[in-house]
Each structure stands twice: as structure tokens, then as C-alpha cells.
């Protein structure tokens, strides 16, 4: 029963740490906008979240056919789901950071981070309300 109370919260917590990780990834890209040879990276957020919450399906999940096989690291910290962004315009110093795209992703990620935070806050509030007895006001 207590699981049901915290399941949603757990999902949002995973989403929040993935959002924080993506934010850091984009910050790295923006920081290296002038570094020669730097290749921008991007996160497939939906896939990373599926893997983090243990709903990985298809080719991303590895089959363990031998007791010695190691499981893929799960949870938000796993670096899987990172990809190299395809350059929209080639650069003389082979840097592939597209500043317009990075800024857009950064803004998008900030808003969604805040949205996740708000989901968590509202959920906590719901639970606290439910726990209050009726005559406490």
C-alpha cells in the first residue's frame, strides 16, 4: 500500500534527476561552443526515462543468458541514452555545437524541470491533504 503512495513520486524523482542530467549535458555543449573538435551530445530523454524506471523494451534491454552476465546499470545515473548530435551545418574547426538548438533545448529542459518539480510538490500536497483528518480543517 505504501508503494502505491510513493510510486508516482518515484517516477517523478527519476524524471527530475534525468532532467538535471540533461541540463548538465546542454551546459557542457554550450560551454564548449568555441572548442575546436568538440562533438555535441544529446540525450534521448524518453528512452533514458524508460531505462531509468525499468520499462526498457526492445533492443535497449539486454538479455542475460548466462549467470555471469552483468546487468546494465539502471537508474538515472546511467550514461546510456547519450548520443552525438548530428551537425546541421559543418564547421571549419569540426565543432558540432549548434548554439540555436542548444539554447532551445536548454529553455525547453528548464521548463520541463520546473514542471516535474511542480508535479512532485502537488503530489506531496495531495498526500498531506489525504492524511489530514476531516475535523482538523
Amino acid at each position: 500500500m505504501i508503494n502505491r503512495l510513493t510510486d508516482t513520486l518515484d517516477f517523478q524523482a527519476q524524471a527530475l534527476s534525468l532532467r538535471a542530467e540533461r541540463q548538465r549535458l546542454i551546459a557542457s555543449n554550450i560551454a564548449n561552443a568555441d572548442t575546436p573538435g568538440y562533438v555535441a551530445r544529446e540525450m534521448d530523454f524518453a528512452r533514458a526515462l524508460r531505462e531509468a524506471t525499468g520499462h526498457a523494451t526492445g533492443p535497449t534491454a539486454l538479455a542475460a543468458t548466462h549467470p555471469g552476465h552483468l546487468a546494465l546499470p539502471t537508474g538515472a545515473a546511467s550514461a546510456s541514452g547519450l548520443a552525438y548530435a548530428a551537425p546541421s551545418q559543418t564547421n571549419l574547426d569540426s565543432n558540432t555545437v549548434d548554439m540555436d538548438r542548444e539554447r532551445a533545448s536548454f529553455a525547453d529542459n528548464s521548463v520541463k524541470y520546473e514542471a516535474t518539480l511542480r508535479f512532485i510538490n502537488t503530489h506531496v500536497k495531495f498526500m498531506l491533504d489525504a492524511m489530514k483528518s476531516a475535523n482538523q480543517g
Binding site: I26, T35, P36, S110, I120
Partner: protein, 139 residues
Amino acid sequence: MSMFKIFDISGSAVSAQSQRLNTVASNLANVDTLAGPDGKAYKARQVTFQTVLMNTGDGSPGAGVKVSGVSEDQTPGRRVHEPSSPNADADGYVTYSNVNAVDEMVNMISASRSYQNNIEVMNTAKTLLMKTLQMGQGG
């Protein structure tokens, strides 16, 4: 908490960009410098950036920037015919530094835009972290 690393990442970029601005400033200051008695004028300097991987604690990558070196532009300086100058050589030419003011101005604008970008990244990260600190406090 991986968001704290954003300050390290963007901070390294800001300090690298400010070093780039510094070299632009010294280049622009020396745009009209004459060669000294040794015949060598000021040479334009240029910083080189390099990615430095940061340990984020949880194994996921964070990429900061550092200035890996400062190189000098080896093109010969501008030679101008000024026979009246006390610094003129036997043929009446004086050698100025090889700084190209237009290149430096472009470099300056680029450095200042990148600097602003990174500051804004830090500001956003700070706002998000402040809101994270208030998590669960009603609101």
C-alpha cells in the same frame, strides 16, 4: 546532485572566455605598437580551447573548457614607409605589430557572446536549484 556541476562546467567556460577577452584586449592595445630596437614588433596572441572532462561523481560525462595554450601569430608585421620616424630602418620603413583590428573585434564579440551565454546557463541552473530546495514546502 548533478546540477551543481553546471557551475563548474559553465564557470570553466566563463574563465576561458575571459582569458580570450584578455588576449583580445592586449592585441587591440598593441595594434599600433612599433618594433623595438631588436626589430621585433608585438605579435598577435590567440588562445586555444580544449575540452576537459570533469568528474561528476556518478560516471556520467561533464565537459568543461580550459585554455590549452596561447599561440603567437607569426605573420610579419605591417611595414610602413615613414622616413621621418626615429624608428625607421635604413630604407625608411617602420614595422608595426601584426595585429588585425577587424579580426580582433570579431573575436571580441564572439567571446563576449559566449561569456553571456554561459552566465545565463548558470543563472538558470541557480533558479532551478533554488526551486529544488523548496521542494515539498507547499507553495
